[in-house]
Amino acid sequence: MDDRTIGRAGFLGILGAGALGLFFARDVTGVIGRAIPNSVSSVVPTNGSWRIYTVASMPNIDPAQYRLRIDGVDLTPTTFTLADLKAMPRAEQVSDFHCVTGWSVQNVHWGGVRLHEVLDRAGALDKGKALTFVSAEVPYTDSLTLEQALLPDVMLAYEMNGKPLSRPHGAPVRLVMPQMYGYKSVKWVNQIDVTSTADYGYWERNGYDKDAWLGRSNGFGI
């Protein structure tokens, strides 16, 4: 073999393997990822572990002081404490979490309350057409149409994997919308506004799609 062929073959080989990695790197390295203990992957994220994205200072909310306010046109504002939410019928589900930047966490165990339960008690079910979820992480907001928000697997979660929701995951209460990419699942949510049309959320004002239904291309189609 010509001397130069060796270097060229190595170079092209790495490029080819890398390009294939666009499609298969997650599966190929998935085994390694699972072997890495949680204590490591919480510091250096690997396959299937959480990454924590914040757009402003991470809120630090005292659960005892937490209030969720439901507001909107034609609506008398209602405020719920965390205890109020926990007193409502408890909902649990196991669902996957998919980020639009390409990572996923499978089989997340959520505990909380169904959104329609909360909206019902606030008298907001028959008022508007859409909801804006306001985070304590100002200026983060996002929105869902009422129809989307009333899907059976949408919830306000106060527990994750059997423990109270932790601060990086949106303590004390976050939205969980498993059928859409994660930027719709607003963390540290402290206000829900009933509106006539779905507003543009934080990332949607920065170019993201308002309709964040999980695509089929990443293998996690619904």
Binding site: I6, G18, F23, R51
Partner: protein, 210 residues
């Protein structure tokens, strides 16, 4: 070492174009690594918090890197760079012996430097490819490919390992750190070059006799 500076013969090793290419890539790499780690590591991403700003820094540095590299390839000494790449890709018999840990005379690039260069160029292209799909996937969900993020993360890991070795050999290791001079000032001590890159020095001295 108390040697008379006038007696030190120096040999030009890296041209302006080569050095400009090296330092442009190095500067961009550090900026991209810094901003990338802020986006990647939860401890840093929650500390710095302003994700949209950091993302833009990362994106625009990447764009500036690509434009600068292409500009150097177009405007710089292309013949010289082509010759470099031809030499880097040629892993000859001596290189293969050297890689197996034996003593073998080396050219202007030793076999380790050739491998480092091949990996660096391949990784740079793959960083650009996976980075482009990360950017595109956020905007058009059909382009969220299963392995894009993993590939970008793995490239970071391997590049940092490569960088650590590169910095050790160029800054710390006593017998190789003299090479740094070649990448800053452009020339190296001929005696040093004769010990480390004999085939190159021999070739230089036969073509350009003193």
């Amino acid at each position: 070492m108390a040697s008379d500076p006038a007696a030190t013969r120096r040999l030009p090793r890296f041209s302006r174009t080569e050095r400009l290419l090296h330092w442009t890539h190095a500067t961009a790499f550090f900026l991209l690594l810094g901003s990338g780690l802020i986006l990647y590591l939860p401890s840093l991403s929650t500390l710095i918090a302003h994700r949209q700003i950091v993302k833009n820094v990362h994106l625009y540095v990447a764009l500036a890197w690509a434009i600068a590299i292409v500009a150097i390839l177009v405007v710089g000494d292309r013949r010289r760079l082509k010759a470099d790449w031809r030499e880097i890709e040629s892993i000859d018999r001596d290189d293969r012996r050297w890689l197996r840990g034996r003593h073998a005379p080396q050219g202007r690039f030793n076999a380790g430097q050739k491998l480092n260069a091949i990996l660096t160029v391949a990784f740079a292209l793959l960083f650009a490819l996976s980075g482009f799909f990360l950017w595109l996937g956020e905007r058009d969900h059909r382009f969220i490919l299963a392995g894009t993020g993993t590939l970008h993360d793995l490239l970071t890991l391997f590049s940092v390992l490569l960088l650590v070795g590169h910095l050790y050999l160029s800054l710390i290791h006593p017998s190789t750190r003299h090479a740094l001079r070649g990448m800053t000032l452009g020339d190296v001590d001929e005696d040093w070059a004769r010990r480390h890159h004999r085939k190159w020095v021999d070739a230089e001295r036969t073509t350009t006799a003193p």
